[in-house]
């Protein structure tokens, strides 16, 4: 099946205008909560600077920090695995389950496992995976991917969730009360937590100095899963490291405030050692990260702490929905991470932006997101990953703009055409015209006007 590109997906999403408005307003409301929360911290901007600088140091010394983290985690009794790509990551997780004869696993939120398509892989191998974050469970029941990294089912109406729960969890038909639905999920997932021998979680931060990992949730699902299972597997990208515990203060102050406007997530749990007699495995995953580390212009994207602030503020994301990005991570940050994974497949994403810069302004680690979107466009054109129409249009534009004679002729032609034959331009072949009216035609060009007026002034 051919994947539709962002513009096509966005066009589909926009067929339901009311829904788009609702989606837009909901995310903007979260952006406003972020602002309110950030403005209460006088040193907010200094925190962002510090976070960005800590991550810059981490990336510049990542080799040493990884070795240090591994050494300290091993000393804590944790098992460490290294995966070069998604396949190796999936194989490692499956291998651990198989070794213990486990065929059912509970999972808390991990965008990395979405990136690696772990659930589908394990299901093909006969392992049942239940996502325990409420939003993730909802999209899992709907057989959809998450549409937002922090709010996985932000695109869904409560009535749709009510129907899903009625079908799968036996809630009363027509009941769409969030309180009732959450309670039903609590009961269903409590049973899951109590009966699973393996729990997989993501990782928000890993501390090189101590070998511990930090996992942040509001629901408590990562802890419920990990503390009740015999086997805890935590999967993380190699960029999740921070040098020491002192640095966690900076990131934990920024993360939840940037994400939802909360002062901190309900639970920020630090796992250093496995429980007595149990196992804690950490899988360190590359999957393109070392490649991105080597791209000087795009390296900063690895500073991302996955708060989702850039999505909530993005005028394009808010009006096109997370699924339009056809990638595990949507929005502006997804659009600069995805082309690194598969340039051709995600060549449309850096163009899904107005380059307004709002994303860069809210990013807690000060990633130059909109600059990177612009830089990706240049790379993608050079590598031949844009459509011929766009390339031709850009080439024609460049030639015209660099020649005064051609520019004059083109201007004159456009004015005449728009005046006498507007249908030549205002038609469905002109993508620009689809959502806009063409401008009103001026009587003359600026240089014609100038010459006339100058003569009049001199007289």
């Amino acid at each position: 099946m051919k994947t539709l590109n962002h513009a096509q997906n966005a066009a589909n999403f926009n067929k339901d205008e009311k829904r788009v408005d609702w989606h837009d307003e909901t995310l903007w409301w979260i952006r406003q909560k972020r602002d309110k929360s950030a403005f209460q911290i006088p040193e907010w901007e200094s925190l962002r600077d510090a976070a960005s600088a800590i991550k810059a140091n981490t990336l510049s010394n990542l080799h040493q920090y990884l070795i240090e983290f591994e050494k300290n985690a091993l000393a804590n009794g944790v098992k460490i695995h290294w995966a070069r790509d998604a396949k190796e990551h999936n194989d490692i997780v499956y291998g651990l389950l198989k070794e213990k004869g486990i065929d059912k696993m509970v999972k808390s939120k991990s965008m990395l496992t979405e990136e690696c398509h772990l659930n589908e892989y394990l299901e093909r191998k006969g392992i049942e995976v239940i996502d325990s974050d409420l939003g993730e469970r909802i999209v899992q029941l709907a057989k959809e991917p998450p549409s937002h990294i922090v709010l996985p089912c932000i695109h869904k109406k409560k009535e749709e969730i009510g129907e899903l729960f009625h079908e799968h969890l036996g809630t009363p038909a027509g009941n769409a009360d969030p309180q009732v639905l959450t309670e039903a999920a609590r009961i269903h997932l409590r049973e899951t937590f109590l009966t699973r021998k393996a729990a997989l979680t993501g990782v928000n931060f890993a501390v090189a100095e101590t070998g511990e990992i930090v996992i942040c949730t509001n629901e408590g699902n990562a802890d419920m899963g990990a503390h009740l299972a015999d086997l805890h597997i935590a999967c993380m990208g190699i960029e999740k490291l921070v040098p020491s515990r002192a640095h966690l203060a900076v990131f934990l102050r920024l993360l939840a405030r940037s994400a939802t406007g909360q002062p901190i997530t309900t639970y920020s749990s630090h796992f250093a050692k496995p429980r007595a007699g149990k196992e804690l495995h950490i899988v360190l995953v590359d999957n393109g990260r070392t490649r991105q580390l080597g791209r000087a212009e795009f390296r900063n994207s690895l500073k991302c702490i996955r708060c989702g602030a850039c999505m909530n503020t993005c005028p394009v994301y808010r009006r096109s929905g997370g699924h339009s990005y056809h990638n595990a991570i949507a929005g502006p940050i997804g659009a600069i991470l995805a082309p690194n994974l598969a340039m051709k497949e995600y060549a449309d994403l850096p163009f899904a932006s107005t380059l307004c810069g709002s994303c860069s302004n809210v990013c807690p680690v000060k990633i130059d997101i909109h600059d990177q979107l612009y830089k990706w466009r240049q790379v993608l054109v050079k590598e031949g990953h844009t459509t011929t129409a766009k390339q031709l249009a850009m080439q024609t534009m460049a030639t015209t703009l660099s020649s005064p004679t051609l520019f004059k002729i083109a201007g004159k032609t456009a004015r005449v055409t728009l005046k006498y034959a507007p249908f030549m331009v205002n038609n469905k072949f002109n993508a620009w015209y689809l959502q806009r009216d063409m401008p009103k035609v001026p009587k003359s060009s600026f240089s014609e006007w100038y010459q006339t007026n100058r003569k009049q002034n001199e007289q």
């Binding site: 979260i30 080799h63 709010l151 089912c153 969030p178 959450t182 408590g220 203060a249 901190i264 590359d286």
Partner: protein, 195 residues
């Protein structure tokens, strides 16, 4: 070459020249006064409750009055709570805690800026206890409220623990149309006593 060595080699080859770590000293200048007020205000705004008491006997009296202790399973390691809650000895069997209604636990310290309390493994019979219990009560010394997370991590910078967690409020979710619901998977309520 193993995957580990391949990844480490690629990291070494691709990482940029060393950038220095920023100083964090300036973040330790938050106001040190009115910490109780700030903590109470913030925790209340995120769904928790705070009660100031003179001593632990007051806590016992409050719990007796507000929880149906005769019908529920309550657990606490605190000596002063032994009349109202069972001391739970760790047996490495967290599933036995499935039916706990109320857990009354001490916390090492609290953080004013975000309403969080820090508990490390030494205070927990089982790691799952503060999560699996239906309701959670934490007891913190009022002199142990720190202004921000910077002071919090300074305090635990050299500590060794197998597990530790900051708890800020009851378990919650807003995944369904951003409607806030308390009691997602963890404790449905959080009450903090400041002694």
């Amino acid at each position: 070459m193993s995957s580990r060595d391949q990844i480490l080699t690629a990291v070494k080859a691709n990482q940029p020249p060393l950038m220095t770590l920023p100083a964090l000293d300036s973040f330790f200048e938050s106001p040190k006064n009115e910490l109780i007020i700030k903590f109470t205000q913030v925790l209340s705004s995120i769904g928790g409750s705070v009660i100031e008491v003179e001593d632990e006997t007051e806590i016992g009296a409050f719990i007796r009055e507000h929880y149906p202790l005769a019908n529920i399973r309550a657990i606490s390691p605190l000596a002063n709570m032994q009349g109202i809650a069972d001391r739970y000895e760790a047996e490495n069997n967290p599933h036995k805690l499935e039916n706990v209604e109320l857990a009354i636990l001490p916390a090492h310290f609290a953080v004013a800026e975000n309403g969080a309390c820090w508990l490390s493994e030494t205070l927990l019979a089982e790691r799952v206890l503060p999560f699996i219990t239906q309701h959670l009560i934490l007891v913190v010394n009022k002199n142990d409220i720190l202004p921000t997370m910077h002071e919090a991590y300074q305090k635990i910078s050299d500590e060794t623990y197998g597990y530790g967690t900051f708890i800020a409020g009851p378990s919650k979710t807003a995944d369904i149309e951003q409607s806030l619901v308390l009691g997602a998977h963890g404790a449905r309520s959080l009450l903090v006593f400041l002694v």
